[in-house]
Structures are given as structure tokens and as C-alpha cells.
């Protein structure tokens, strides 16, 4: 199967004049195939799928209760880079952070997309459900989501906020922010959402899902949290470059220490890698230059549902425990264990002394028939 059968010369030429050489393009397709878990044999097909999408798939990117970090992440893409994504692969028809139009002009663009339908709807940011806490063009964000979910070919929630609410939904969740799936449920829309958790989303995951869609015409297989299994099927801990140190029992006890320079495991610094599913160690960030644990920072668990609350305190192994009924006193599991054990030991000691001093030296089973 030669590449020429599937990828036309014309397309390859078109790539070259943009500065993306044929080799680069096939390299990208190869990387994408690998990312999708396909064999090298599929590389020409990936190339062909991208080319065949001669009408670039329209994308409507809506920002809700977000910080635009995922848009920032998008424009940090490398293979394909942001210019490829914007000019060659996708037609990003609406994204408030990068689009030229504003106000009425932007609204017109949005209305047209809604009319045309069949767009990929990408949502960045959670959905405030408290009235007035999140509005665009005078409309509540949750209503905008409802309107746009209908004609969408696929809905992708990018980043922790869009998936399950993220940081702004942390306790006490002042704006009652929820993730996209839950917001859709609230508005009575029944539609599958692809959750690309992480704060911010890793742009390679997004590209992987979109190419998967272009190539196979279908959406990737999802896990119980709606996350593509290909990116969230394994825990960070299992693929971590520091895993050997974990298994060996070699740990960093303090930031900046000698142990850290030797790349020891960050488990004792509160690393959430053992309970976070994501391909971070393999995909890494920013042109694969580095990733959190690679840079010396313990994972904070941002790929998981319930982040950040269920993963705070980030620099402790386990979260604090609130004891109900004591004014919400917060303590650690270690303290609870120690106190319970001490109480038991004291109880036993007192009982032993009492037994000895009471002179109870005979068993007092009742006689039968008494």
C-alpha cells in the first residue's frame, strides 16, 4: 500500500508550500496513528482522511465559566500546529478568544453556524446554573448550551471545568457551576459528551479525538466518565518515568533536595499520579518538552472527576478528614488512627489494672439451672 494511492500529490504540494514538508506531514500522521493505537499501516489512511475532509469540519468553540486556558492550550499545538489547525484541518468558526468579529458580527456568525448545523461543538468552561452568574450576549450560558447541543455532530467538553465543573465549581461552588454532561441533563437534552478532562486540556488529546472522528467517522470508545479510553485508560503512575524509584522505595522528602535532583519518586510530596488516569507521561505537554512530574512537580490529579476538591491538599498524600459534629474540625487520617489506638491501649491498661486490683481471679460463669 503506497502512500500515493491515498494521498494525492496535489495535497502534498499544498502542504509543502505552507512550509510543512511532506516528511513532516507523514510524521504527524504517523504520530496521530500511534496516538490512536493504530498500526503504522494506517498512516496513509490518516493522511487521506484529513485530506478528504476537503470541506474542513466546522467547529463552534464556546467559552463558558472558563479561563481560556484550553484555547491557549489549543494554540500551543505543534504537530499539527495552531496554523495548521486553523487554516487546514478545522474551520474554527466561532471562538471568542481568537475570532476577528465581535458583538453583533460575532452573533451573526454564531447564528449561521446554528442554522447550518453538523458542527463539532467544543465547550470550554463549566456551566453556571445560578441566574445571572454567566451571560453572553444577554443569554444565560446554560440556555446557549441547550440551543447549540441539538444540531451538533459531536460535543466535546475540553478541560476540567467543562467536564465536571473544575476549579470554579470547588466548594462552596459560588455560581453553582456544573459540567457539560450534567448541564445537558438539567436541560433535558440526552446527548453523548466526550469529556477531555485535564486542566488545561492537552491539545494532542483534542487533535486525536478530531482525527479519530475524521478517520473512522465515529467517536472514540469512552470510559465510565465519558473520557476516551485511548487517553484515560491507564493511570499516570503506571507509565511514570519515576516509577522505578517508587518501586525501589526511593522518595523525594523535600523540594529542591538531593533526592529531587536524582529524579526520585514524588509520592511522599503528595503526587496524585497513582489515582489519576491520563497518558500524560507519554503525550507530555508543549511539544513534548516536559510534563508536570518531569519538571519535579507532584501530579495534582487534574484529569479526574471531582478535581480539585477530592484531590486537595495537593502537597499531602491524602485529603484532610472533616469530623462531623465537632464544628467541622479538620484532621488527618493518621491522627484519627493514632488517637483511636491510644484510646484502646489506655482502655486495656485501665481494665487490666482494674482486673488485677479487683482480685477477680475466677471465671464467674453461671451454673446451669441457677
Amino acid at each position: 500500500m503506497g502512500e500515493k494511492h491515498l494521498v494525492s500529490e496535489q495535497f502534498l504540494d499544498a502542504l509543502e508550500f505552507r512550509g510543512l514538508s511532506r516528511r513532516d506531514f507523514l510524521k504527524f500522521c504517523g504520530a496521530t496513528s500511534a496516538l490512536l493505537g493504530l498500526s503504522e499501516l494506517y498512516t496513509p489512511q490518516v493522511a487521506s482522511a484529513i485530506e478528504k475532509a476537503s470541506k474542513r469540519p466546522p467547529v463552534v468553540w464556546l467559552n463558558f465559566a472558563s479561563d481560556s486556558g484550553c484555547t491557549e492550550s489549543l494554540i500551543k499545538a505543534t504537530y499539527p500546529n495552531a496554523a495548521d489547525l486553523v487554516l487546514d484541518i478545522l474551520s474554527i468558526d466561532y471562538n471568542e478568544t481568537i475570532m476577528a468579529a465581535a458583538g453583533k458580527q460575532a452573533e451573526e456568525v454564531l447564528a449561521k453556524s446554528l442554522k447550518d448545523g453538523r458542527y463539532i461543538l467544543i465547550i470550554e468552561g463549566g456551566v453556571p446554573t445560578k441566574k445571572g452568574h454567566g451571560m453572553i450576549a444577554g443569554k444565560e450560558m446554560i440556555d446557549i448550551l441547550k440551543d447549540f447541543s441539538g444540531p451538533a455532530a459531536a460535543i466535546i467538553a475540553v478541560g476540567s471545568c467543562a467536564t465536571f465543573g473544575g476549579v470554579p465549581s470547588a466548594n462552596p461552588n459560588p455560581s453553582q457551576i456544573v459540567g457539560v454532561s450534567e448541564a445537558l441533563k438539567k436541560t433535558g437534552v440526552n446527548k453523548a459528551v466526550i469529556n477531555l478532562d485535564l486542566c488545561p486540556v492537552n491539545v494532542e488529546y483534542l487533535v486525536g479525538v478530531v482525527v479519530n472522528y475524521l478517520l473512522l467517522g465515529s467517536l472514540p470508545e469512552l470510559d465510565s466518565f465519558g473520557r476516551p479510553k485511548m487517553f484515560y485508560g491507564r493511570i499516570i503512575h503506571d507509565n511514570c518515568e519515576r516509577r522505578a524509584h517508587f518501586d525501589a522505595g526511593r522518595f523525594v522528602e523535600q523540594f529542591g533536595s538531593k533526592e529531587e535532583t536524582m529524579g526520585y519518586c514524588l509520592y511522599k510530596m503528595g503526587c496524585k499520579g497513582p489515582m489519576t488516569s491520563s497518558e500524560c507521561p507519554k503525550v507530555r505537554y508543549n511539544d513534548k518538552i516536559n510534563w508536570c512530574i518531569g519538571a519535579g512537580a507532584p501530579c495534582i490529579g487534574c484529569a479526574e472527576q471531582g478535581w480539585p476538591d477530592k484531590f486537595a491538599r495537593f502537597y499531602e498524600r491524602l485529603p484532610g478528614v472533616k469530623i462531623p459534629g465537632f464544628g467541622g474540625i479538620e484532621t488527618t487520617a493518621d491522627k484519627i488512627g493514632a488517637v483511636a489506638a491510644a484510646a484502646t491501649a489506655a482502655g486495656i491498661a485501665i481494665h487490666a489494672v482494674a482486673s488485677a486490683s479487683s482480685g477477680r481471679t475466677k471465671d464467674k460463669e453461671k451454673e446451669e439451672g441457677k
Binding site: D238, M275, K310, R317, L318, G337, A341, D363, K364, K366
Partner: protein
């Protein structure tokens, strides 16, 4: 009150008991290490990997020991004791027994093999062990018995407890329940051995306990 030596525990009961003791000891020790690694590994060591290995191994032993014990309760050739664990009867008898131990009562109703407190505590610990197995399975990232994808199959446990961090906390706190039980359990066996001289403690080694003669 005449007393005689009775063969209280046959070999299989004793083996089962000590397997569990060993398993719990290993689980607690390795568990503390996994919770907070208290010693570093050298260049060629695999301390954490071995800790994890023995932790999992002992967990299997504990679970299988429990299953064997339950089986024996119903179908032992030596002593089918399941009827001794009737909850309602034991709950009714518990206050008296507790009162006796707290020096509030001077005597208590005789039981066949387990006093009321024992008969409540042992099944309770069985439940704690099952809880530990379930939470442990939810935290375990391997394949149980080689074929059950444990974190997927037991994700509901974590979801119910509010996320994996909380599963970890519960798993850790339940360990303390087991430790406290073990402490109290050993204390009472010694208490009876020392003050009542009924050989309770040694019975778990040789099987013989001094009990009142029943004619």
C-alpha cells in the same frame, strides 16, 4: 465447679487462625509502608514493589482464609459453629457480658463456645475484612486473580466513597479497626488465661482449653 480439658480447636481451625494472623500482620506492616514509606530503598532494592507484592499476597490469603472459615462454620467435620453467631440472641446477651467485664455484674450466662461479645465481634471483623478487600480492589490497578480488571470493576466503590483519595482514607481507617480489634482480642485471651487460668491463650496452639465439665 469442675473443669476439664476440652479439644476446642482442631488443626484446621488453628491453621486458619494463624494464617489470618500472619496475613493481617503483613498487611498492617506493608500497609503502613505504602501509606508513608518509612525507609528508603538502596540502589538495587525494590522495597516498595516487594511491599506491594506482599500486601497483595496477604490480601489474597486473608480473603481466602475468610472464605474457608465461613465454609467451616457450615460444613466442618469437627465443629459446625454457624449457629453460635445468631445476631439477635447475642445482642440480647451482650449487655450482661459487657457488664461483667466492666465490673458491673458479678457473673454471666455461659455460652457454648463464644461469649456474646465474641460472637458479635467476629462476624463484624469478617465484614471489615470484606470492606478492606473491596476498597483494596478499587485501589488495586492490576487484575484480580489474573482476570478481573480490578480498578474498573470496583470503581463503583470509589465513586460511592467519594473518590479514590477517600477510598484510601477509608481503607486506612478500617485498618485501625482491625488493629484495635486485634489488640482487644489478644488482651481478652490473656486476661482469661491469666486470671481465670482456663488456657485460652495456649488453646490456639495446642487446641485444648479448660472448660467446665458438662455431663
Amino acid at each position: 465447679m469442675e473443669k476439664e480439658l476440652k479439644y476446642e480447636w482442631n488443626l484446621s481451625y488453628r491453621i486458619e487462625h494463624w494464617v489470618r494472623v500472619l496475613a493481617i500482620a503483613v498487611l498492617v506492616l506493608t500497609g503502613f509502608y505504602i501509606h508513608s514509606p518509612f525507609m528508603g530503598g538502596g540502589p538495587e532494592s525494590y522495597t516498595m514493589a516487594w511491599m506491594n507484592f506482599f500486601h497483595t499476597l496477604s490480601a489474597y490469603a486473608l480473603l481466602l482464609g475468610l472464605i474457608v472459615r465461613i465454609y467451616m462454620a457450615f460444613n466442618s467435620s469437627f465443629d459446625r459453629d454457624w449457629q453460635d453467631f445468631g445476631l439477635i440472641r447475642n445482642l440480647k446477651a451482650a449487655p450482661e457480658m459487657l457488664g461483667y467485664y466492666l465490673f458491673l455484674k458479678s457473673s454471666y450466662e455461659r455460652a457454648r463456645k463464644y461469649d456474646a461479645l465474641q460472637a458479635i465481634a467476629y462476624p463484624f471483623i469478617g465484614i471489615v475484612i470484606i470492606f478492606q478487600v473491596m476498597t483494596g480492589a478499587a485501589l488495586y490497578k492490576g487484575r484480580l486473580f489474573g482476570f478481573i480488571n480490578s480498578s474498573e470493576s470496583f470503581r463503583w466503590v470509589s465513586t460511592m466513597l467519594g473518590g479514590e483519595s477517600y477510598t484510601r482514607i477509608w481503607h486506612y481507617l478500617a485498618m485501625w479497626v482491625v488493629i484495635i480489634f486485634a489488640g482487644v482480642h489478644i488482651y481478652f485471651s490473656l486476661l482469661r488465661t491469666v486470671t481465670f487460668r482456663d488456657k485460652t491463650f495456649t488453646s490456639m496452639f495446642n487446641g485444648y482449653k479448660l472448660k467446665r465439665k458438662t455431663s
